[in-house]
Amino acid sequence: MINKFLGFEPDKDKLPSLTAKIGDDIDLSSHKYQKIWLGPNHPGVTGNMAVELWVQGNTVVKAKTHVGYLHRGFEKLIERRLFVQGFPTSIRMCVAEPDTNEYLIATCTEQLSGYDKAVPEMAKWLRMLSLEMARLQGLLRGVPGQGGTFALGLGVQWGVYLRDLILDRFEELTGARVYHMYIIPGGVRGLLPDGFKERMEDNLRDIDDFIIRIRKLMFHNSVFKKRAKGLARITPEMVDKYGIVGTNARGCGVKRDVRKDHPYLHYDQLDFDPPTDTDGDIYARTWVRWQELIQTVDLIRQIMAKMPEKGDIKAQMPNVLHWKIPKGETYVRLESGRGEYGMYYVTDGSEKPRRVNLRGPSYTHAIALLEDLLVGADVADVHAIMVSLQTCPPEIER
């Protein structure tokens, strides 16, 4: 009715009905389809990644992910460095939550050299604190970022400001803003500075306030609700088929959380329950992430309350310059903000690792899953789907 009044005719009906077979045999020379490249420049909050889209009218009929724009050859570089030299290199593998890389490589080397029992209590609590802070700063970008893909820019402004406050606390604790190198083999690098807990509590109170406001801004917003509901639905059957982990799996009711399944550090002493939802669409995934934001703030409070005041922070380790680890292999995983994040580490008895392989959750989410979820979606929703899967290209290509 209103369209008629404005003299606007929807042209979608005039298009031929979608007849494309999903597969390789899309005939571009028939001029029924168009090919569009999305990327590789930074689309919103994910990294450099290109998506090649075949569209009919407004609808995507086929999609291909292209990665490699951020390839640095980390796994090759770490093979050429001493165990301790691998640290500053490895943490740059994924910029969104660098602490997870520190923890993985530290734990792998400790396990293979038999020092994993020697890590002091205090160090374990501090490791947990830094991991949860990393998750918090990731979520502060991620949750409002989902609104940003639907052109809701205000939440991003709030979120990035609050993330900056957490980075300030990181700077107090570790001396660096983004790449911390706080977790080292055998422990951590420093104790909490004086007054850290009070300042952290101040920031957490700000974040509590933000959590309530972002709920009103995003989840009570009709535009967000209308566009996110029912979009890019993941069903529980897809979870094992595609290897979906983390919040993407929890959004459709499959409870997968490494912190609960394989409790590492002292996560078994904390009181928490990973949030889940049943719908599996973008709205549900964002809702799970929003609940996780509350939970992470609560976890940081719990950790700061349960943490001992003082204690050893580093075990006695061999001289790092001549540190040899006997032949062996291991796989260590943790729950990052994006899901199961793991590292396969092989040593051969020399001073350098034989092979390091990172398993990032985006490896499956952004290629196999994304290509299938995009089929049938609108071109305008492609960004939203990418961000809702929390793709992080640096961990795909490394």
Binding site: V67, G68, H71, G243, N319, Y331, E340, R359, Y363, A368
Partner: protein, 186 residues
């Protein structure tokens, strides 16, 4: 975990079992039965989550080690199925029909190590490098430092020091090298 592997040992010629952690074991099987063991684990033993696929280059023995890491969400255990294949004309049966994401790993391994997986979709496409003319870049005999020095323009003035020597010179210039210290180093 132990029962499971003992049960499968005879059927699948499992040779080398390493229990790295109580919830993580690595088993070695011949090349021919690796995929069938992975299928058996997925269909009958509940290892439904494919964690990762990886490759290690054991250049001294002329072998590539392939690893299929599977996770059982019910019992919360992991099994790594290892198999060794020849380095020359490396080829392995494809497992892309088992999980949707496997072809991505196989495409990466084809580019990074030169292992062929006949039948795997899009296995010949570029994955991360573009216009690559050298040998596959993750092989041990590919020297990335030399390649970088010859190809890109290193800025003059970058020095490389042996860390031990450098620290000794910088921090303890007057201290003689004692025998005890050398023992500690080892």
């Amino acid at each position: 975990m132990k029962n499971l592997i003992e049960k499968l040992t005879e059927d699948f010629k499992i040779s080398d079992v390493v229990y790295q952690r109580p919830d993580l074991a690595f088993v070695t099987v011949p090349k021919g039965v690796a995929i069938s063991l992975v299928t058996e684990l997925r269909d009958y033993e509940g290892f439904s989550h494919f964690v990762m696929m990886s490759c290690v280059d054991w250049i001294e023995e002329g072998k590539f080690q392939l690893l299929y890491l599977l996770h059982n969400p019910k019992t919360k255990t992991d099994v790594g199925v290892k198999t060794f294949i020849d380095r020359e004309n490396a080829e392995m049966a494809s497992a892309h029909h088992l999980w949707k994401q496997v072809w991505t790993y196989q495409r990466e391994l084809k580019e990074a190590f030169g292992i062929d997986f006949p039948g795997s979709p899009r296995v010949d496409e570029n994955f991360v490098v573009e216009g690559w003319t050298e040998m596959p870049h993750m092989r041990r005999d590919f020297n990335t430092k030399e390649y970088s020095r010859d190809t890109y323009f290193p800025r003059p003035g970058r020095e490389t020091n042996d860390p031990a020597e450098y620290m000794r010179k910088k921090l303890y210039p007057n201290e003689p090298i004692t025998a005890k210290k050398q023992d500690n180093d080892k």
